[in-house]
Amino acid sequence: MSTRQINSLFNKKILLQATKDSFTKLNPIILIKNPVIFMVGIGSVLTTIAVISGIFSGNFSGFNLQIAIWLWFTVLFANFSEAIAEGRGKAQADSLRKSRIQTMARRLVGDKEEMVAAPELRRGDVVICDAGDVIPSDGEVVEGIASVDESAITGESAPVIRESGGDRSAVTGGTKVISDRILVKITSEPGDNFIDRMIALVEGAKRQKTPNEIALSILLAGLSIIFLLAVVTLPAFFGYSLSASGLPMSQNLTIPVLIALLVCLIPTTIGGLLSAIGISGMDRLLQRNIIATSGKAIEAAGDVDVLLLDKTGTITLGNRMATNFFPADGISESDLAHAAQLSSLSDETPEGRSIVILAKEKFDFRGKEIHQKNAVFIPFTAQSKMSGVNLTDAKGIVHQIRKGSSEAIRSFILNGNGFFPKKMEEKVAELARMGATPLVVAEDNKVLGIIQLKDIVKGGIKQRFAQLRTMGIRTVMITGDNALTAAAIAAEAGVDDFMAEATPEDKLRRIRLEQTNGHLVGMIGDGTNDAPALAQADIGIAMNSGTQAAREAGNMVDLDSNPTKLIEVVEVGKQLLMTRGALTTFSIANDVAKYFAIIPAIAVSLYAGKDGIGPLSALNVMNLGSPESAILSAVIFNALIIILLVPLALKGVAYRPVSANTALIRNLVIYGFGGIIAPFVGIKIIDLIINLFA
């Protein structure tokens, strides 16, 4: 846990607000949304009534009062856990919201512009944003190009380019234009733009229960009903046993004791923490700068077992880089590097720059030296597919140095009556086979050698894919490269499968095919033509830099526009589900100890001999002090465990990228066996403390 998280968890303001909210959430209409805790609430009321009527009838019971107090605490603790999760989300949202409150917009009406407050903008309005203006709402750039500071939402300080048309036209409300001027067409209604939606989601106002949460709630409610049956029938069984032991019916179980038993048995721990777990899942995504449009999406992320990953940006660094020089016979590598650098000086593409850098790194050539010479640069054009330089030497002879694809250079050489050496031909083919891109360098009619351009696989990505594989997730690389190149990179990066020369339609088809075979597919994309695939995928993460269409098609938006995020999203999803499962198991396993605390306590007098101790005392394995302290200890443990587990619910269980079986064993040992043992220890300690003061 980082210090930042600890701070936000124990932030005074959040704690104070959460404490207040714990009481407002006692409202039965709110409370009934959580059936298990609602049941505890009813129990608290009934016990309180029993205490009050006891006062009026003159036999006040301090024991009942203590039970009542701890039952109320149980409800409050459960409310508190939900409130604190919401509070943390709110705090995060508030800082985002601040930026929007005072924003004024320059709306274009006809040719005139007018100043309006940002919340008054409707969908379809066009606003002008100059350098220094805050973009008032989500929209699409319809005219112009500008650099935009999106740090308010992404935390990334480097400005990004936003321009009309293409894949980088979407802008987000609350971000700031740094240079130039753009016209933005508003695409969201007031109160429904991205940040508004995000705020609503993390605050829990719009939170709907996810499918899994619903199923779990049903299980918990069902278990509660079964235990309710066990408890309501107990007085009848007990009454029979009392008469069989010759004891008066007045010794039958009282309502507070029955309620104490019921509350201890029903799964209050998970019941109380369930919504906190869900909200904090959203929160954890937000900490990674991802907005999910629904809680359902996070859950589905845990289920995803096929990831479609774009090669560029996710698996490889953005661009190809020069990695090697292969000189032709009779040419030294340094001569080749020199010529290659000269020919690339006018090539402003990342590939061109990487050649200059490689030459510099290998032979310490400097571009400056060349500038002094009499040189004419030939830039790359789509027609020639070459770049280069014409150098005039001391004798006035012009040397033409060129660099380009093997086809382009071949025709260049043949035009000068040169020939393309067989050996170089073979090398070109070999490099292509390896997945590299060969560029040939020539001077006049002579081939000097080959520059190898390669995709650079991101550091650590191979390990990442191996982890995914142990988790049972298959990775598919998507690339526009040909099959040979794709295969080579796929092998180097360690992905399970690849799609070469993939069109958006291919992606969509692939997703459908995987889904038909029962897989759940996650993908990340940005372009308008990614939209259908994003919509079809079970998890579609749109990059914030992407088009509005893409953002609306996906069910998550990555504010950082970092494609590797897909993997993190899957991890957050899995962690969320694991946390639910672990706490459910813990909660159910707790029941064993609670039975052993309460049953011997309530049945102590049955069939008792002269010493007044009945045979069922043999079940008092914890050797608890007195029947009253035993029941009280169980109730207190039950309440305290909720508050003790709040940090775990918010933080999630420790997550490691391991196989399902390993994860299961780990969680079982900690939360299953721990769940059986912890209450034995806890109840015993509480009992010792109670008896110390008694």
């Binding site: 029979y240 899995k574 069922l616």
Partner: protein, 563 residues
């Protein structure tokens, strides 16, 4: 225990393990329509039946119409058995001239045999005519067992198929399980039993003179045929009142072994069919192992209870309520088997079992009759627990819980909970009702915790469709006939309907292929989890009730007090 006792227990278990795949594979062939060796024998009859009831066996239905067919068939069976009891005096095959049965006893018996419970609130030989026994009860013995098998087969189709709503054809499943499984096995078992001396005739009861010169009535009748199916079909309703402790029902130690084995055979073998149907026999064996582990544990506790010294009497073990020709081990094995597999036949007086063995018998039933359980019923009951286990533990691997590649969602959980609630409801609410009402308490034979155990046992037996009784309770009263009857109905259909609903829902889902991220359900780990869920979710609910019955009784007995 002697070495011979131990050998017998081991032989029993080994034989069960050995025959499970043999019969399991055969049943798989029967339901997938593959050719098997009984086809030439009964194939013509199968076709004739389809023609007669106008059913196309290849026409499959969704879970709702499958359930509807099942309910309709059972309703008709119930009404028929109910009516022939009310009018048995006017019907043939009644050489003893037995009078018509009271309406509430007839209701109880009709429900009891339809639900595969075979709770008997009456004494067979002095209450029911041969006509009722054969045309009514024996037929229900077959079809109630066949109904159970049909349900589990439909469930397995739901698990193994994808993107469909079809679960199969109820009428063909019913016909096939009767013709190809229950009938041939019954004939085989009946012939062996006749060889051991079980009676099989249509004579009236005979009166003979004993050596002391007293007169004794010897009951007669077509017993062997009915005993075979009552054991195989986990029905348990004896031809005679004392069930399989009667020398004409169960004359020799060999017939005893044979009958005991018949109790568990089909239910155990179905686990193998299960594995075959879902395409992995490991899955079947995992469930088999869970059942076997629970069975052996129960048996061990019972044997311990019976063989340990009773401090009240001071001698090693009690033969009270047991037949001398069977002894303790055979009686305890029977009591464990018959309660594990909702059979309910008895060869000793369960009321006389030591508190521990009695508790094992009750717990076996409380867990929902899933330790092998009733034919089909045990496995679909176990299926409910599998769904719950998958849901509770499956989340811990970080995926939406799935079973055999099918996502387990809200609907499945809801249905599994309803199935679980049905049993709890009957056991807890009805026992509580009986424990506070005068008409409930007036039937008691014993005082103290043992009396409570008797009531608890009765309703647990009804809810689990077991049918055995502690026998200390006079259950042929209006109150018990009705409450137990309703309990049996809830315990049967309160599980069947939700289970078929789960099957229908699962059939419609796609199958996620296995990967390293899949929650495995064919490992020892899963077996352990399943046992934990069965004991904690299925068993802990009854801990308070058990504490006030057999547990307290056991503790009291150790301090020298009995009831």
């Amino acid at each position: 225990m002697t070495t011979l006792d131990i050998i017998q227990v081991l032989l029993f278990i080994a034989l069960l393990i050995g025959l499970t795949p043999v019969l399991g594979k055969y049943m798989y062939k029967v339901f997938t329509g593959e050719k098997q060796f009984m086809h030439p024998v009964f194939g013509w009859l199968e076709k004739l039946i389809y023609k007669f009831i106008k059913v196309n066996p290849d026409e499959e239905s969704n879970w709702k119409s499958y359930t509807f067919g099942l309910l309709l068939f059972n309703l008709v069976g119930f009404i028929f058995v109910f009516l022939i009891q009310l009018f048995q005096a006017q019907l043939p095959l009644n050489p003893a001239n037995l009078p018509n049965v009271s309406w509430h006893s007839a209701f109880n018996t009709a429900v009891s045999f339809m639900t595969n419970t075979n709770w008997q609130g009456y004494a067979g030989e002095t209450t029911l005519s041969y006509f009722v026994q054969m045309i009514g009860l024996a037929v229900q013995n077959f079809v109630s067992a066949a109904t159970g098998i049909a349900v589990i087969i439909a469930v397995l189709r739901g698990v193994s198929r994808k993107n469909t709503d079809k679960l199969g054809n109820f009428w063909s499943d019913l016909t096939r399980s009767t013709l190809y499984i229950l009938l041939p096995l019954s004939i085989l078992f009946a012939v062996v039993l006749v060889g051991q001396g079980v009676v099989q005739n249509f004579n009236a009861n005979e009166t003979v003179q004993t050596l002391q010169g007293a007169e004794q009535v010897l009951p007669m009748g077509p017993a062997a045929s009915q005993i075979a199916i009552k054991q195989l079909g986990t029905n348990g309703g004896g031809f005679f009142n004392t069930n399989s402790s009667h020398p004409f029902e169960n004359p020799t130690p060999f017939s005893n072994f044979w009958e005991m084995f018949a109790i568990l055979l089909i239910s155990a073998a179905l686990t193998y069919t299960y594995g075959k149907m879902v395409g992995s026999t490991r899955q079947g064996w995992t469930i088999f192992s869970v059942m076997m582990l629970l069975f052996v544990t129960g048996l061990a506790i019972s044997l311990y209870g019976e063989y340990s010294t009773n401090p009240v009497f001071g001698h090693i073990s009690s033969m009270e309520g047991k037949e001398t020709r069977f002894g303790i081990t055979n009686s305890v094995m029977w009591s464990t088997s018959t309660t594990a597999a909702s059979n309910g036949s008895v060869n000793s007086m369960h009321d006389s079992l030591s508190p521990l063995a009695g508790m094992v018998a009750i717990v076996n039933m409380m867990l929902g009759e899933i330790i092998f359980g009733g034919v089909g019923a045990g496995l679909y009951g176990m299926f409910v627990f599998v769904i719950l286990t998958v849901f509770i533990a499956g989340l811990m691997v970080g995926r939406t819980p799935e079973y055999m590649g099918k996502k387990v969602g809200a609907f499945e959980v809801q249905m599994a909970i309803i199935a679980n609630l049905s049993t709890s409801f009957v056991i807890l609410i009805f026992t509580a009702w009986a424990a506070v009402s005068s008409y409930g308490l007036s039937s008691l034979n014993n005082a103290g915790p043992h009396g409570f155990s008797e009531i608890l046992y009765a309703f647990t037996s009804a809810a689990g469709n077991n049918g055995s009784a502690f026998a200390g309770l006079n259950a042929n009263t209006l109150f018990y006939n009705l409450t137990l009857g309703i309990g049996m109905l809830i315990g049967r259909f309160g599980v069947i309907i939700p289970v078929l609903a789960i099957a229908g829902s699962l059939a419609g889902k796609n199958i996620t292929p296995n990967s390293a991220g899949t929650f495995r359900t064919d490992t020892w780990l899963f077996a352990g989890l399943l046992i934990a869920v069965i004991l904690i979710v299925g068993g802990l609910t009854y801990f308070p009730a058990l504490s006030l019955g057999p547990i307290i009784e056991h503790l009291l007995m150790n301090s020298g007090i009995t009831f």
